[in-house]
């Protein structure tokens, strides 16, 4: 692939080098902690050391007496302002600062504002909190036991730890399919609690201007416009007096979608002191208190004919949502998109049932590039297909090939109601098998097994639904998920695009410039993308769930086409032709049949701004606005193959190869797409082999630092081998689908399938992630570990 600058490009899609890199390679990015305002104070949070305890008293007198402390905020103080609790995105409430009880280790109890960050930390040591310990609920499978401690006694009448029961699909039809099937296999599997752990932790700088009443909040936010509205609703501040700025963001992965107590405390701290307040959490705070991911205890069943025709799927899930239902997901379904669990297969019927419970753990659940639970769904079905292959003694590739949806079935409505837009699945799987040299790998595996060596080949085929989302299924606290875009074209023909989503590393400043450039026939270098500032950009719901290209990318294309149509009218006047006689070709409007007679956007923009008489319908300039309301999700898919070697003596897994063939429709910037896939694959390797947020029986978090919560490094990651197929999205203006989360969603199952395949000589059918050496070794002995209750 050849990456170029955008200079002189006409036809702007392709592997263009990123505009944003110029500042990052010089250390000139502006992350939240880089912001320094005159008179700025620093905040720090006192957190609960206990997982469940009643607060008897909080004594802040000594902290307040610290010479550098400017304010100490407690839940009691917030109660007076009706701010002790805040709404979550899942119709629950979450304590901002605890008043009655603490419900997980690391919960926010008090907030100190001081002159510098060291003094703020010092003052935390001076706060004396008396706790009365309560019994804890850590094992989700025991959360609904009779007599289990009730975590949410703040909710009137609450007698248990139950949050919701929810189901999708036709239960009777599914049960009938299962009753008649030749073969039914079942498997329990845990998708353990994980954490997105962006390298930059969460933080904020809040600045309330006491004269104008304007609140400016620089924040690690993946959704600045949504945050603005939420601040207005929660804090009863006028929305036009709130400006949220997401500056450079050091990775999001869903961790930076919610509003956290620290953000609100910084805002309140600024209001109380009249000075800017910075709060940046440390790594342990990030891992122990902010939005975790997964924690799904799943029981899956798959029904098939003896010949390997898959007929139906059933799943029952216990979902651990932690102490507050803070699941940051926009769907009307409490389990997010989990009911996409039928995957990429042609089934007769399917049914899933999900029960959500409270435990004494940090709130969250939807984060970490999961596409709102598609990750869990894909993992379930792809593990089940491999378990079925084992049962039928079938080749996992052939079994998948036999059951994948066929091109002529699209658009395809799944048994649980999803409307897949386009796909040519078998082709994509075949490309992956060819890239891998699948038959040769299987031969090598046979030879190695004879010698007692453990080699595994794992396949995963996934379908995602991304681009939230259609109003019938999605909203954020009642707000529909349409995204705006505005495009200004300057007299000299350069342009400024304002978008509502923003980059956390995805390269929006480049990709979105390419979208506009492609539509207007100008260079991407001549398009400046403005994002991440609610005062300067149109409303939209933010960057997560792989929605930027499907929704805001569509808005960018639509607004550019609006500009182009306005330009057509001006060009017609310039060319003394009817607008109907013009055609857009080669980056300019020209008279049909007379390509010599044409005008570029730059020429037209100057004319549109000129003192010349303008044609009817053009008041001057070419600027336009658009709002894109997605009619459906986009459905990217892919075929992944992992080759793993396992040391039978130690259980150590080494990934030798990873082949990933993604189909995300039209690729605007293939270099960026491939980079995102690389990153997602590393996430999958981490989840499959290393990462888990486990707890001990007292509710102590065992993954509270990078010493304990292990992330993949350059040593664990193989050199990724990518391929691609392109099946355009039929309903997206430029045929693109989202891709940012595809690899995170699709890859864990491929890694686990590879390891379990390697362990086939020992009769191992399943072991839960993470497949650490100890866990693999125990699986070889016939006793895989319960990975969520102790670090194996």
């Amino acid at each position: 692939m050849t990456a170029t600058s955008g200079r002189g490009m006409n036809g702007a899609y392709g592997p263009m080098l990123r505009k944003e890199d110029a500042r990052f390679i010089r250390g000139k990015g502006t992350f939240v902690d880089d912001i320094h305002l005159p008179g700025m104070l620093h905040g720090a949070i006192l957190r609960s050391p206990l997982a469940h305890a009643r607060i008897v008293s909080i004594d802040v007198a000594a902290a307040e007496a610290h010479p550098k402390v400017k304010a100490v905020i407690t839940g009691r103080l917030l109660e007076g302002r009706k701010l002790a609790w805040m709404p979550t995105l899942s119709h629950d409430v979450q304590a901002v600062l605890a008043t009655d009880k603490v419900r997980f280790q690391g919960q926010e109890v008090a907030f100190v504002v001081a002159e510098d960050r060291y003094s703020a930390r010092d003052a935390l040591e001076l706060i004396n909190v008396e706790y009365e310990r309560l019994p804890v609920v850590i094992d989700a499978t025991k959360a609904l036991d009779h007599g289990a401690p009730v975590i949410r006694d703040d909710v009137a009448g609450k007698q248990d730890n139950h949050i919701f029961d929810w189901a999708a699909g036709d239960k009777a039809a599914t049960d009938a399919v299962f009753a008649a099937a030749d073969v039914v296999v079942a498997q329990d599997m845990l998708y353990p609690r994980s954490h997105p752990a962006p390298l930059e932790t969460c933080g904020t700088v809040a600045d309330m201007d006491t004269v104008s009443g304007k609140l400016t909040v620089w924040s690690t936010s993946q959704a600045p416009h949504a945050h603005r509205t939420l601040y207005a609703l929660v804090a009863a501040l006028p929305e036009h007096k709130i400006r949220i700025v997401s500056p450079d963001i050091g990775g999001g992965f869903g961790n930076k979608v919610p509003i956290y107590p620290g953000y609100l405390c910084a805002v309140i701290g600024s209001i109380l002191t009249g000075r800017p307040v910075k709060w940046v959490e440390d790594r342990s705070e990030n891992l122990m208190s902010t939005s975790f991911a997964r924690d799904y205890h799943m029981h899956g069943e798959i029904a098939a004919t003896r010949e390997g025709r898959i007929l139906g799927l059933r799943a029952t899930v216990l979902a651990d949502h932690g102490a507050f239902n803070g699941s940051a997901q926009p769907s009307k379904f409490p389990a997010g998109f989990f009911h996409i669990f039928t995957g990429s297969y042609d089934l007769q019927a399917a049914h899933c049932q999900v029960t959500g419970v409270y435990t004494n753990k940090a709130p969250g659940g939807v984060a970490y590039a999961c596409s709102f639970r598609v990750t869990e769904a894909v993992y379930l079905v792809e593990r089940l297909v491999d378990v079925l292959a084992l049962e039928l003694e079938a080749d996992p590739a052939e079994l998948r090939m036999k059951n994948l949806l066929r091109p002529e079935q699209f658009p395809y409505t799944t048994p649980t109601g999803w409307e897949y837009d386009s796909g040519n699945y078998a082709h994509t799987l075949q490309v992956a098998l060819d890239l891998a040299g699948y038959a040769d790998l299987r031969r090598e595996q046979q030879e190695k097994r004879v010698r007692g060596e453990l080699m595994g080949i794992g396949i995963s085929f996934f379908t995602e639904g991304v681009g939230a989302g259609p109003r019938k299924h999605m909203d954020i606290l009642g707000m529909g998920m349409a995204d705006g875009a505005d495009l200004r074209v300057h007299p000299t023909g350069t342009a400024v695009l304002g978008i509502s989503c923003q980059t956390q590393g995805q390269g929006h400043e480049t990709t979105f410039a390419q979208i506009v450039a492609q539509e207007l026939g100008i260079s991407p270098d001549d398009v400046e993308v403005v994002h991440g500032d609610t005062d300067r950009t149109p409303f939209g719901l933010g960057t997560y769930g792989s929605r930027s290209t499907p929704v805001s990318g569509a808005a960018a294309a639509v607004v550019a086409r609006k500009v182009r149509e306005r330009a057509r009218i001006v060009a017609a006047a310039m060319l003394e032709a009817s607008p109907d006689d013009l055609e857009w070709d080669n980056g300019r409007w020209q008279v049909r049949g007379d390509p010599e007679q044409g005008r570029t956007i730059a020429e037209i923009a100057m004319a549109a701004h000129s003192a010349l008489e303008l044609p009817e319908g053009i008041e001057g300039h070419l600027d336009a606005e658009a709002v894109y309301n997605p009619p459906n999700l986009t459905y990217p898919y892919g075929a992944y193959i992992c080759v793993a070697d396992v040391d039978p003596g130690t259980g150590q897994v080494a990934l030798r190869r990873f082949i990933a063939v993604d189909d995300c429709g039209v690729r605007i910037n293939p270099m960026i797409v491939e980079g995102q896939i690389h990153g997602g694959l590393a996430d999958g390797v981490g989840m499959a082999l290393m990462q888990v947020i486990a707890f001990d029986e007292d509710g102590n978090c065992l993954g509270g630092s990078f010493m304990d919560y292990l992330l993949p490094t350059s040593m664990e990651c193989p050199s990724w081998e990518l391929g691609e197929t392109v099946t355009p999205c039929p309903h997206h203006p430029i045929g693109a689908k989202g891709v940012g989360e595809s690899a995170t969603v699709g890859s864990p199952a491929a890694v686990v399938n590879a390891v379990i395949d390697a362990l086939k000589p020992f009769g191992v059918r399943h072991a839960d992630m993470p497949l650490t050496p100890a866990n693999v070794w125990c699986a070889i002995q016939g006793h895989p570990l319960r990975t969520d209750l102790a670090i194996p």
């Binding site: 600058s5 990015g29 690389h678 990153g679 010493m707």
Partner: protein
């Protein structure tokens, strides 16, 4: 206590608390915010700077330990408007996404290339193994370091706003895909 540190060629004499971490001295006192703080525990490497000629994790170095020593940060990689090849390599090979780990990665890679001018991919992975990137999956970082090794004398500027000579058109090794 009073300390004197040479940072990127300039002498700084400051009164600091004995407990002040070097990363906070660089970021909060000198406002050199290119070095980032990521984990507290020396695991992530976002804070890597050079202390004299050695990459260190400045979140676990006391400023006092740098008294009388030289510190080099990402801000010193570009000299007289000329990018270091490692900076150029990261841009050319899409070796960064969010950019948070990038300064530390580049400083370790620069140290490696000064000692091993033509490293293998295995040597690069080993050298960077104490640093975490959450975005790239490392492959393009490895390619970036290789690019820098292959363009040791490169003096091209990465500046999208200047010139029309197309000088930053470059080969990008997109891999097997």
């Amino acid at each position: 206590m009073q300390i004197t540190v040479n940072v990127n060629g300039a002498e700084y004499t400051r009164e600091v608390e004995a407990r002040l971490l070097l990363i906070h001295f660089l970021r909060d006192e000198l406002r050199l915010t290119g070095s980032h703080w990521g984990c507290d525990t020396s695991n992530c490497g976002a804070c890597v700077v050079w202390l004299d000629d050695t990459p260190v994790k400045s979140c676990t170095v006391l400023t006092a330990m740098a008294d009388g020593h030289e510190v080099r940060t990402v801000e010193d990689l570009e000299r007289d408007g000329v990018l270091d090849p490692i900076q150029q390599g990261f841009a050319e090979c899409h070796g960064l996404q969010c950019g948070f780990c990038t300064p530390g990665m580049m400083l370790t890679a620069r140290w490696l290339l000064d000692r091993v001018p033509d490293p293998s991919t295995e040597e690069i992975r080993e050298a960077l193994s104490g640093q975490i990137c959450r975005c790239t999956g490392y492959e393009n970082i490895v390619r970036s370091v290789r690019w820098a090794a292959e363009h040791a004398d490169a003096d091209q500027r990465l500046d999208h706003d200047s010139g029309e000579d197309g000088s930053n058109q470059a080969e990008h090794d997109g891999g097997p895909g």
